[in-house]
Amino acid sequence: MKGWRFFLPLGLFAAFVGIAGYQLSQPKSEFVESAMIGKPMPPFDMRPATSDVPGLSLANLKDGKPKLLNIWASWCVPCAAEAPHLAELERQGAPIVGVAIRDRPEDVAAFLARYGNPFQRIGADDLSELQLAIGSSGVPETFVIDGEGVIRYQHIGDVRAEHVPLLMEKLREAGA
């Protein structure tokens, strides 16, 4: 064996340290972001999730005004936790539409009666079809959709107090 070969393991190890060190320095994102950001919403037309609130279709999103699209469900605990912050967004003038995932009309009505209704419209997505089509992996998630029906921003997880200004800002960027 030539002398340099004995340094081969050291070289390989140095490469490992380089990669591992680089990875450690990167912020670790636990969330999978949607690949649909910047792309138009697919066509859809959903029945109302409960009798008192109208349903949701693509045409409603293409009315020229940017909106927040909230993916939620009455059976989801973080959705209840984010309800006051959605109400705050509505108070500040954000138009919010909802998509209820795998839900029952009476449960939706009970949830709205208990936590209030910030939604202009709520569509029922019984098989998570729209949810999967726009690249959402769980509930709750909140998307910013511009006036042309293009997805501009995705917020994963519940909306907390500190996210309210951020979402208002994203809504403004989308042309409100």
């Binding site: 064996m1 004995f6 190890f13 340290v17 990669i19 591992a20 060190g21 680089y22 450690l24």
Partner: protein, 651 residues
């Protein structure tokens, strides 16, 4: 007071490690016996006292857990006063801080043991070895004391503890981590021996004999740990699988592969004074793999089903330790290995030749596993997220496992130094015929490609592994040779179990009412009842199933879906019906609707052989260890008697 005693003992032990390092380094630098004198006399006692202090410190931690002292943060975070005693004790190492304390305890206890018993190596190599051991230990003391103090008190004691993860509240798992740790850390001794020998350039057969029991011991624990971990995952997770190529599983497999290679190359060095640089290299690599595994698991840079407490700061700390120890050892290797003489020559067809093939292929498999484990890291650096699983590991691993097992069939039959293939033609032919027979049966049964290869190889290997017994007096055969035969046979047995499970596994997912029957393979399983039951810290829904094999007398199974309340979590407790030819595996799922229950059933022919094989491998290692230690003790007695006789002869 208990916590403070434990912490004080730990600081003292760290100080002794520093003393041991300084004294050892000075003694080696000045040249050993002649001038190191007084300082060198400190090394062994420091190592021994350090070991005692660490064991004391760990005992204090266990005591805190037994008493459930909720003023200690670690206890409050990981224990609960209502927990059964055995899990209170196990809870002391079922968390990051406690497991690191266990790590350092095992490491310093091993250091104390070599300082106490190892007398045959040149004193200067021993000093270098103990200095290296204390150098490695110091890093872990620093890690423990500066960033993961297990004895930290809470400003105000907690009212009640958080409890232990329910998945870990299982007797098998309570002892799985310490077993693996004994293995990982035992390899640290091999690492220190390798570094010590590199520093003094005294890589001799004596060195290999001194190192071998440590490697064997560590390897036995690793084998048992991996086998037990695999069985635990199989019955506790309720997924029906026994190996998932998860990063944490790979983290234990990689040191095992390296230790297996090291074991065999150390045998060559001990018997024939060959493969010097290679043995040293493997000694460094084996422990490096343990540390890299720990790093990958604890830093959270890889995603795994084993959700350990993840902390990037700790990750950086461990990476720093890796750079110092592995980088340092490999740098010393690069500088020194060239000047370690090559050792004895041998011909390609010989025991050594076969062991070289075994070593190269084991290293290749290690490379395959390492690459597969690190690949997601590589691609993530380029912005692509991938997950590497069985579709990579199974076929690529097979490419190297097949030639390795073929070499394993012939190798033990060959003589040292040089041999002729004609001499082993007959036993090799017998093994090949069995292999061909296995192949024919597997093809007839339409097993898949990998399973067919596995079944054929296991048949051939099973026969080949007992061939070394041919024509020898079984009563006079050395114990170590028995060890080799049993370990190799264990590989064949485990391989047969794996291939059979893969080829003939039957699965059935059914939604049935109470009173209805589902069938899987030769079994028919009747759901007799579903009842609520309660345990010490959980409640569960338990199914009563009557399973009957091929119309025979039914056995009763009780799979459960458990809900723990401290902390709240749901687990599935699978139920198993074991026969000589396989296992029925039943899992109770959720209610499908108001009347029907989801039931998942597997029939896994010969699956238990995987773990019996694993235990046979470990037993083989144990016999080899006993044999080697006995040989060694005899040699010592002979030497002492010779010494006494010489002393008598000189008036």
């Amino acid at each position: 007071m208990i916590a403070e005693l434990g912490l004080a003992a730990l600081w003292l032990a760290a100080a002794l490690a520093a003393l041991q390092l300084v004294a050892g380094a000075l003694a080696v630098w000045r040249g050993g016996e002649e001038s190191g004198g007084e300082l060198a006399g400190l090394i062994r006692p420091a190592a021994i006292v350090q070991g005692v202090l660490c064991v004391f410190s760990f005992a204090m931690l266990v005591w805190l857990f037994v008493r459930t002292d909720l003023s200690v943060k670690l206890v409050a975070m990981n224990s609960h006063s209502d927990k059964p005693l055995i899990f209170k004790i196990a809870g002391s190492w079922g968390n990051h801080e406690g497991s690191m304390l266990l790590w350092i305890t095992v490491m310093s206890a091993a250091g104390a043991l070599i300082a106490f018993v190892e007398r045959r190596l040149p004193e200067r190599t021993m000093q270098a070895t103990l200095a290296a051991q204390s150098f490695v230990a110091l890093g872990f003391y620093a890690f423990l004391l500066l960033s993961s103090n297990p004895f930290e008190r809470l400003p105000t004691p907690a009212v009640e503890g958080n409890g232990l993860n329910p998945l870990l509240q299982d007797i098998g798992l309570a002892f799985h981590p310490p077993t693996l740790y004994l293995g990982y850390v035992g390899l640290s001794v091999a690492f220190s021996f390798a570094v010590g020998a590199l520093i003094t350039r005294q890589v001799t057969p004596e060195f290999a004999r001194a190192m071998r029991p440590w490697v064997l011991g560590a390897w036995i624990f690793l084998t048992v740990g991996i086998t037990a971990g695999s069985y635990w995952a199989y019955y506790e997770l309720g997924w029906g699988g026994w190996w998932f190529w998860d990063p944490v599983e790979n983290a234990s497999l990689m040191p095992w592969l390296a230790a297996t290679a090291l074991l065999h190359s150390a045998s060559v060095l001990a018997a024939r004074d060959a493969l010097r640089a290679w043995t040293i290299m493997l000694g460094v690599v084996a422990f490096s793999m343990s540390m890299i595994g720990t790093f990958l698991v604890r830093s959270g840079i890889l995603t795994s089903v084993h959700a350990f407490a993840v902390d990037p700061e700790r990750g950086s700390f461990i990476l720093g330790l890796l750079v110092i120890y592995i980088g340092g050892a490999l740098a010393v290797f690069g500088l020194r290995a060239g000047s370690v003489a090559e050792g004895e020559k041998f011909s390609a067809v010989s025991r050594e030749g076969a062991l070289v093939v075994n070593n190269v292929l084991l290293s290749a498999i290690l490379g395959v596993v390492l690459l597969g484990t690190l690949y997601p890291l590589l691609t993530e650096a380029m912005g692509v997220r991938v997950s590497v699983g069985p579709p990579y590991f199974d076929p690529v691993g097979t490419v190297f496992v097949v030639p390795m097992l073929l070499a394993m069939m012939v190798g033990p039959l060959l003589r040292w130094r040089g041999d002729r293939l004609e001499r082993v033609r007959k036993p090799a032919l017998i093994a090949l015929v069995c292999l061909a027979g296995g192949l024919a049966v597997a093809i007839a049964l339409r097993a898949g490609v990998l399973s067919t290869i596995g079944l054929a190889l296991s048949a051939g290997l099973a026969v080949a592994s007992v061939m070394p017994l041919r024509g020898r007096s079984l009563r006079r055969l050395p114990i170590a040779t028995w060890g080799m035969v049993i370990a190799h046979l264990g590989i064949a047995v485990a391989l047969f179990g794996m291939a059979s499970e893969r080829a003939f596994n039957k699965e059935e997912l059914a939604a049935i009412k109470v009173g209805e029957t589902a069938t899987v393979g030769p079994w028919s399983v009747k759901l007799a009842a579903v009842d609520p039951v309660a345990g010490a810290n959980w409640t569960a829904i338990e199914a009563v199933m009557q399973a009957s094999y091929a119309g025979g007398k039914p056995v009763e199974l009780h799979p459960q879906a458990r809900s723990f309340w401290s902390p709240p979590q749901e687990t599935t407790e699978s139920a198993l019906a074991t026969r000589w030819n396989g296992q029925l595996y039943a899992v109770l799922g959720k209610a499908a609707d108001s009347e029907r229950w989801q039931v998942r059933l597997w029939w896994k022919p010969f699956v238990t052989l995987i773990w019996y094989g694993g235990l046979m491998i470990a037993l083989g290692g144990l016999l080899a260890l006993i044999g080697r230690v006995r040989e060694d003790l005899r040699r010592r007695i002979v030497q002492r008697k010779a010494g006494e006789r010489r002393a008598e002869a000189v008036p």
